[in-house]
Assembly symmetry: D2
Homo-oligomer: 291 residues x 4
């Protein structure tokens, strides 16, 4: 596939008022900025303005550092506080994947990376079991096994410390819990806020917690789903990035629901991760704007 | 549309064992029964067998009463207890609709009836408000206004007594809560068990109770849905007949979600009602088999 | 439902170049224009820029006529030629519906209008059969019966002349072929270009022309669909506004497919019509941008 | 995952008449056959009866060979001619995959096999390019590179002969064209009839032949799809096993449509292959019954 040209991506949010678009677009136009893609949204409930702009890097007379500095002044002027970012698609995205025994999301993501559909570096895969070491290494990616002992708070604390170290060394743009079966401690949730993505195997807020397909079967629902969301300290309550569902019926046993649901988990996680890495997800409170 | 020929519909459930299909199909074959449609299911969890058979009425040498008597003997022999029915498509289905102010489900059902897509008699429409009297009567259907006074337990009890009378006089095959905003008393739930259908404007079990679209908006979900279920004493907990969803995004305000959700409510209720009236829904515990 | 405040809607297209957004948004900002909703798109294949802006009417110091004049200058400057419009949501939309015998789309649209979901005036319904006169008049809308004689070219020509007159007197914003079974003459297609919407009962470009459900059944497809498109002189080839599908299987006879398909026809037409009336559909060549 | 118990699968079709179900189910009941799953269908257009039965192997007093012989007598008696089969789930399914350069379907199928979701033997992968040799061999599966020279009829004939040999040596239950970009010669279509499955990257019958996403983009459709079908001599005209679609809009370039479509291709092919290998697909004329 041909590489798309290098772009700078601006994401921005502030209280709405007249003239914001004019201010931002005039700034870009002044410097010859060629906008590849632009999206705007105003949330009427909170009166909050959001935008995302993709600008061709070679259309501007300066680099990303100076763009960041200059745009930062406008952001301050408009009252955006910390709600803005300028990123550079020329910087390759780094991802760390956390897994357990179930491999479907891992196989799917590795396949997308290998076929250049998802053009990122998987810096490492870390598993609390070693079942998925083989396929990971077959893709030329380091695999680390970090066991999480049950009923051993100290041992678990040490494991999380090791996990954090193995992750943080890569300064990843995304930490993906690709059916990782451990609940992150509050502290890690905070440190990785806005970068840790989970795939939950239900259509949240239905069936929070363990064994959602069993819960779904018990309730007799006619669709099962999956949810990709940012990880927060409260289990399965973080801002939702993407969801989808698939139809089931009375002929579907729990293993059938698990199997059908996996196809949804895979695409929902892949979409959510792509949008996150392309800076398309703006979080506001517990909601997301997806540009 | 040409009328389909008259059929007898057998629905049946019993503990699974070898030879049930042979017993039932041999009985029908002996008498020349021409099976139009047959479906079988065994639930491996509860080891329960289900079947539904449609037989051409004119292929049998006897009428529905004798079929019921003869089949009843087989049902007893196979241990079905009360879990079987024989119905006659020659008996027109009667439906009573309960409504409030929101008309989209009523308009939809009346349109389906008027265009003979849903070939039933709407015996009456009963509203706790009179907003929908006009369109109901324009379709030649009686409308009854039964107000439900707020904060007046006795008045409400009287209203429910009147409602029951207005419904029961028609001995309806289905009592449809087509966005009826009153919670039925336990006693009515019991008396109408298996015949009272509700449309709830969320993808249950998410967002039980009041203002589900508001709840959905607050949680930031990416799909909203609707659920058609049998009414039981526990609110929004009855066996689910049908569900569906529609995509929403950050540009959708609550009124947008309400509007989009209505399209799902309408089709989910229409499908659920059709299946119920065609004796396609077999309830087992809190689950349904849809044949 | 509370009325949304009055807005002016600008739609605009021109060859892409740097600074268009800045030009338009600065113009609006200068006059205090409060943008409720804004969308932009650039088609990289044709290098064509599109935008749609909703501005609060009361935020501007002048009315729609002056906005049109002032914005027109900018449009000329940017080379938009005729590819721009300024409309006023304060002007109620008028719609004429053309029908035949099948009523599902008509019932659906009338229900949406009656429940204020679709807040428009249905100026008239015109049928080549009179089957749907009753329901139309029950909604207080004039119905005209214009028979189209088969195998009588002159009679048909006269009928089309009468049809045109009955439509044009209302200067409608949309002429909706709501399962109207007559093919419009080229001349009418030209005169109503961009305002005549058809609902075709297949997922185009599959199954162009007559009896698409029969064609779909013959091919053994696993989904059937519907397409809302602008009418052009070439049958079923106009720019597509909206499409959707529903699953069918081997148990579905042709009448079952017809019935299931109707639910899709109704929502696809209702969505397409809403977007058209809200000036959300920008046509470019044979493609549409839906803002 | 626990292995399901061994079952015999009977598929059967014949002209409909009274008593077929009784005949087959009585035969099974006589010998104590425990039916795990049973499905029946009658096509009213062609008056053809279809059934599929799964029987626990250990419930019958004889093996698959004797079941085949005994059931064969009943099949002859009922006029099924060649339209019946008895298969044994104890015989592991063998699959050969044909690929080209695009790996998404191959990655997906290998992931499903490796995670035991699709519990089959991939006997070989054969590519007309060698791009996918690495991932294939990483899964421990033989890869054969058979180049197909352009504009060299004799060379191509030789290549097809080699392909046939490499496939036939495995006597596969399925030959899967997993985005194999060569059109099979008529003779191979005939020899592999009912066993060769193709995934076409459009919602057939739309966009037959080359570059369907380009065709779809040109037509401005709002959904793109994929179709899994049996290969027949007429290109993209074989009986359809499964189809699905995904929504696209004006922001999707052709590469975006290709990317989104791949997710549909993968699941549609995986579902179609599973159903085929479980003997759930009964072909009748150009239509399929999926049990």
């Amino acid at each position: 596939m041909p590489q798309p040209e290098r772009r700078y991506v601006i994401t921005f949010g502030c209280p709405d008022r007249t003239g914001i678009v004019a201010r931002i677009s005039s700034f870009l136009a002044e410097h010859g900025g060629w906008i590849i893609e632009a999206a705007y949204h105003t949330d009427p409930t909170t009166n909050w303005f959001f935008t995302r702009q993709e600008v061709r890097a070679d259309s501007l007379p300066f680099g990303v550092a100076e763009l960041r500095e200059r745009f930062g002044r406008i952001a301050r002027e408009l009252g955006a506080n910390a709600n803005w970012r300028v990123t550079d698609t020329g910087e390759r995205r780094r991802v760390v994947l956390l897994v357990s025994k179930e491999g479907h999301c891992l196989y799917d993501l590795l396949g997308r990376v290998a076929s250049h559909e998802l053009d990122v570096d998987v810096s490492a895969v870390i598993g609390n079991h070693s079942d998925l070491a083989g396929i990971t290494r077959a893709h030329g990616i380091p695999f680390h096994h970090v066991p999480f002992p049950a009923n051993d708070p100290e041992g678990r604390q040490a494991a999380f410390a090791q996990l954090r170290q193995l992750v943080d060394v890569h300064r990843p743009h995304a930490v993906v819990l690709a059916r990782f079966m451990q609940i992150l401690p509050t502290e890690l949730c905070a440190d990785w806020a806005g970068r840790a993505l989970n795939i939950h195997h239900s259509f949240l807020p239905s069936f929070v917690g363990a064994r959602p397909y069993h819960q779904a079967h018990g309730r007799g629902v006619k669709l099962v789903g999956a949810t990709c969301h940012y990880v927060t300290a409260e289990l399965d309550q973080g801002p939702i990035i993407e969801q989808d569902v698939i139809r089931v019926d009375h002929t579907d046993s729990i293993p059938d629901m698990v199997r059908k649901g996996r196809d949804i988990e895979k695409v929902v996680l892949a979409r959510g991760l792509r949008w996150h890495l392309e800076d398309r997800v703006l979080v506001h409170g517990n909601q997301t704007v997806i540009f």
